[in-house]
């Protein structure tokens, strides 16, 4: 049983620069911020290291931070430029009964995060969903295609805050 502070110390010792910061202000649950392209190594360590044993990935969730600059495009639609998209990882150890939350933030224009699908197969569909909804690309994912939206959806990524409904999908009017 370890609390997030201890886990943060362990990770900081091991990975140094990769582990960015520990946020632990209430009422927010504390989470550890990690560099996006190194998350898979951190996760593998968390899973296999004796005394950490994070065998289970509870949840993986994309989120649009919407912290960029809001500008108007030519059609007068508000779009967000710059800023970040984030992914939250909620890990849990079934034997040791402790939890930790990791967060990676990646560039909005070219969102790339290392995939943890190889580490926890549970991440497979979660990552596909995050890709589907936010357009976050998970590198090394074996089958990164849309999952809830149609496979050939071209209207963008719906859960981004500046998402606009497309007018037509294959000749069908979308807002019916």
């Amino acid at each position: 049983m370890k609390n997030p502070e201890e886990i943060f110390e362990i990770l900081k010792d091991k990975f140094g620069e990769v582990i960015i910061e520990l946020f632990s202000d209430k009422p927010t649950e504390s989470f550890i911020s990690v560099a996006p392209l190194e998350i898979d190594k951190v996760c593998l360590y968390l899973r296999d290291k004796e005394g950490l044993n994070f065998k289970s990935l509870m949840n993986l969730s994309g989120i649009d931070d919407a912290n960029g600059e809001k500008i108007k495009d030519e059609n007068d639609n508000e779009i967000i430029q710059g800023g970040t998209l984030s992914v939250f990882y909620h890990l849990e150890s079934i034997d040791l009964k402790h939890k930790v939350t990791l967060k990676v933030s990646t560039d909005r224009e070219n969102p790339e995060v290392a995939s943890v699908e190889e580490i926890w197969r549970a991440a497979d569909w979660h990552e596909r969903e995050a890709y589907d909804m936010f357009g976050i690309k998970f590198l090394n994912h074996h089958n990164l295609i849309r999952i809830l939206m149609p496979y050939d959806w071209e209207g963008g990524y719906p859960l981004r805050k500046d998402y606009q409904n497309p007018e037509f999908y294959k000749g069908m009017k979308v807002p019916y």
Binding site: P27, T28, I94, R121, A122, M149, K161, Y163
Partner: protein, 371 residues
């Protein structure tokens, strides 16, 4: 001499009697043997998470009902707990008891559907109707309490919509009395039927290590022999006050983690749920159920991941709030969604008939997978 065979692609669904909704399975089969299975989901996508961004917190509750529509009470329960934790609301004792009673009754109702439809998948139609007959009684209990039979919107942030109906306790006691023999009858008719055991035992074996790695939760994980139940291991609400056991798969009729075990877990869990309901209705205190309902639900900025044990597994709500009346992001970790990932793996090498058996034993609800 080996016969030359060709693979055939068989599209199972989106409309098929036993895909439990609009799920499409792309089976590559060789004769009757499955080479690979690719599930295609999204036919029931209703943009729950996008809707949430423009809705106030209480308005989201009816939407959570519609995710796992067989376990609406549990969905509400999970969501409400998440928001209450974010806001730091303490709810009255009576509310907690009523919530637990409702959630456990709902668990029984949900498992009854799972078991009944599983019987129908295997080919026995009569248990299906027996299960629905009993479920109907639970729905009647819900109906007198909140007026709805399926999508309740009963558990509110900080309280409940109504107090219990005056008849509720009496009717629940009657139900429990009637239900125990019915459960035994169900066991006679289906659970221990040798044909049923032959169909389900040693089929779709899910070892514990794989199950954890795939994030499987709920009865499916316990059937693999892992003693893990959030009601005991990470207690929420007042579950630590009740005396009940967690059934774990033992492989009575085959291997640990096969379809029969997954099915049998649900039977055993119903018995445990009955015990909880019995204890809860005997201990329930008096009180006001709406005293803690906040006038205006406006959680502070922050994020929380809160989870409850749904009939199908761990239902998690990841709520990010920016301090306004609308959540920034709600991600639902739907148990069926995660449990479904392993499905393709389980089916390999089995027969077409087993696909149905395995799918039924995982017990998915498409409303929750597609959200």
């Amino acid at each position: 001499m080996a016969l030359k065979t060709e693979e055939m692609v068989l599209n199972m669904g989106p409309q098929h009697p036993s895909t439990h909704g609009v799920l499409r399975l792309e089976l590559v089969i060789e004769g009757e043997i499955i080479k690979s299975v690719t599930p295609h989901i999204g036919y029931l996508h209703r943009c729950f998470e996008k809707h949430c961004e423009v809705m106030t917190y209480p308005q989201i509750i009816p939407y959570t009902d519609r995710m796992d529509y067989l376990a609406s009470m549990c969905n509400e329960f999970g969501y409400v707990i998440a928001v209450e934790r974010l806001m730091g609301i303490e709810v009255p004792e009576r509310v907690e008891y009523i919530r637990v009673i409702m959630a456990e009754l709902q668990r029984i109702a949900s498992h009854l559907v799972a078991i009944g439809t599983y019987g129908a998948d295997i080919g026995a139609f009569t248990p299906f109707l027996f299960c629905f007959r009993d479920r109907e009684k639970i729905l009647n209990l819900f109906e007198i309490t909140c007026g709805a039979r399926l999508l309740y919107n009963y558990i509110w942030i900080g309280g409940l919509m109504h107090d219990l109906h005056p008849d509720f306790i009496r009717l629940t006691k009657e139900f429990i009395k009637e239900f125990r023999p019915n459960l035994k009858e169900l066991n006679d008719l289906l659970t221990f039927n040798q044909i049923f055991i032959d169909r389900t035992a040693n089929v779709g074996i899910l070892p514990a290590e794989t199950a954890i790695n795939y994030g499987i939760t709920g009865p499916n994980l316990r059937a693999s022999g892992v003693n893990w139940d959030l009601r005991i291991n990470d207690p929420y609400s007042i579950y630590d006050r009740f005396d009940f056991k967690i059934p774990v798969g033992k492989g009575e009729n085959g291997t640990v983690g096969d379809c029969w075990n997954r099915y049998y877990m649900r039977i055993l869990e119903m018995e445990e749920s009955l015990k909880i309901v019995e204890q809860a209705i005997n201990q329930i205190p008096d009180g006001d159920v709406s005293s803690a309902i906040p006038k205006r639900v406006k959680p502070p900025a922050g994020q929380i991941y809160s989870r409850v044990e749904n009939p199908r597994g761990e239902l998690g709500y990841f709520i990010v709030s920016d301090g306004s009346v609308n959540p920034t992001r709600i991600k639902v970790r739907a148990p069926s969604f995660v449990n479904m990932v392993v499905f393709g793996e389980l089916c390999k090498g089995h027969m077409v008939a087993d696909v149905v058996a395995i799918l039924g034993s995982i017990d998915i609800v498409l409303g929750e997978i597609d959200r």
